[in-house]
Symmetry: C2
């Protein structure tokens, strides 16, 4: 059994905290935990906007706190994001996520993220095994 405390990770295991422009993500579970998915608590800064497209991953995102919106770039449809709303990128949907207030999200990735991925210019993460640059921060 693995037991981890978000607050302990933030204080003492900074290698499990990944930050990029206007978001940061606390990796509670990664690929090497062997669960077949990864689980992250992710913060998106108030006022920020993000274009992502996980071509190689399925991701579900559950809003625990905050306020924002998501636009599906295939359909143009925009959905409100508030606590209790979940979106799942079952078609690897390219999307824009906006945080009107800071968003705190519980995210699952399949296949699991290894922890060394960076968002590429197209908003994706590399597929497992695909050569990727190291996170520099």
């Amino acid at each position: 059994m693995i037991v981890r405390d978000f607050n302990d990770i933030v204080k003492n295991q900074r290698d499990r905290v990944v930050s990029d422009a206007k978001w940061s993500s606390v990796r509670m579970l990664l690929a090497d935990d062997g669960m077949g998915f990864s689980f992250h608590i992710t913060f998106l800064e108030e006022g920020s906007e993000h274009t992502f497209e996980y071509k190689n991953h399925f991701e579900s995102v559950y809003c625990m706190q905050g306020k924002g919106s998501i636009t599906d770039l295939a359909t143009g449809e925009t959905h409100e994001i508030k606590p209790g709303v979940m979106y799942a990128l079952d078609k690897h949907d390219r999307h824009i996520l906006r945080a009107e207030e800071e968003l705190v999200m519980a995210c699952c990735f399949n296949p699991p993220v290894t922890g060394t991925e960076v968002h590429r210019e197209d908003g994706s993460y590399a597929a497992p095994g695909e050569v990727t640059e190291e996170v520099s921060a």
Copy 2:
């Protein structure tokens, strides 16, 4: 893209809410969503105690609210459960979960739960494809 609202499910999609003795679970994602995992928001009643052993599933559980403890029945070790603590049953660990206060948990299952599983006497869910009784409630 799938978008679902916890509050809408609770009000209008009762087939996605599964209850058993002293717990209930809102199924935000199930096997037929095709994500490769399922995602549930689960409530464990104040004062309740539960013995589970997911022999056929990996499960991670992130505490969003409440207070309790988990005992690993293989090692006898007990861990505090409070907001921010996650446990992951990477060895299909048989365990006792106690809710001193109502616990609200974000749960991921791999393989994904179909929604018709019931806890068997041994605390497990059937494997995908294994014959199981229907949820009666």
